[in-house]
Point group: C2
Chain length 197, copies 2
């Protein structure tokens, strides 16, 4: 059972996978076809080999510069700052943004030892100061949670001296939501951020 | 992003892994060292190659016959029937059982299309009928949930004609538990199954 227990241990090292789930995942892989297991192991290794951060925005890509940064049809004067690569995919799916991105690869969380130096903030400052085409707006699209808010606040202080317009994505009641089931903080943000109609 | 999305898809095919967790696992693997990723992929492939069901009890093993079935010091006249290989490890850890096992590799769940033919019941019947050393007791140690109970009931009906002693593991209040927080069904089983002191 050495290799079986080693497989369970390998799954346990993944974030958020507990002992029960690691066991279930290992059992699953021992039961499906060898072909399927081979394919799983290959996806893992190939992604690791081919996917690298874009040299401009640090989003994951399989080219040197990602397809968004390399697209001349997009607005190179607006940067949207997000925490993780999947956030870029989520905003792209919304179809309502035509500028570029900057991926921080995390958010400030002092209790977990994640300070400003752990995030890709230096690269963001470099882009804003050295870009050929001056950036006219930075949209802070970090998550609307404690860490995301702290990160947005920190970035605001860092960016203010550059004299660039800084905006934060709107916070309020989500579409399709129910006021009755909305938490107090969201409702308070929705009221404070109310707009003329 | 093709290989990144393919990695997310590979994780999503695992049981109980949702879209958010698949994303987190994929991001994690892209961030740790190549060495660690290589090791993960190797554990998966090696376990699949080397771990097979024991030819006697169907528990996972890296030999033809597992170390439990091959141990002449154990009581070969008692079989403990469990649902999954980790159940064997759990009972072994308790240190209070010296007989052999039989792993069903599942439990009856008609709603999920898992009938008696999907479990290794035929192999159990074969063992009981053809074993050199006659089996004097079968302990039904399937889980104490609906599927496990249904499986135990079905096995009881199948085994009854063989005239072998059939027992079911005791159900009651778990050690270290609090009566106040114990569900009604468990309490009812604990009362019905009460023993003289």
């Amino acid at each position: 059972m050495k290799n079986f227990n080693r497989l369970i241990a390998a799954f346990r090292r993944l974030p958020g996978v507990g002992p029960k789930q690691a066991e279930r995942l290992a059992l699953h892989l021992l039961r499906v076809s060898s072909h399927e297991v081979e394919e799983f192991a290959t996806s893992v290794k190939e992604a690791k080999l081919s996917v690298k951060p874009c040299t401009v925005c640090l989003n994951f890509t399989e080219q040197g510069v990602c397809s968004i940064c390399g697209d001349p049809g997009r607005d190179h004067e607006i940067l949207c700052v997000v925490e993780e690569p999947p956030d870029v995919q989520a905003i792209e799916r919304s179809g309502s943004y035509q500028g570029l991105y900057h991926v921080l690869h995390g958010s400030l969380s002092p209790l977990d030892g994640i300070g400003p130096d752990s995030l890709r903030i230096r690269e963001l400052m470099g882009r804003l100061k050295n870009s050929k085409q001056p950036v006219r707006e930075v949209i802070l699209a970090t998550d609307p949670d404690t860490e995301g808010e702290a990160t947005a606040l920190y970035l605001t202080q860092m960016l203010r001296p550059l004299g660039i317009r800084i905006t934060r994505i709107a916070q309020g009641v989500p579409l399709g939501g129910d006021l009755d089931y909305t938490d107090e903080l969201t409702l308070s943000h929705a009221l404070t951020g109310r707009r003329e109609v």
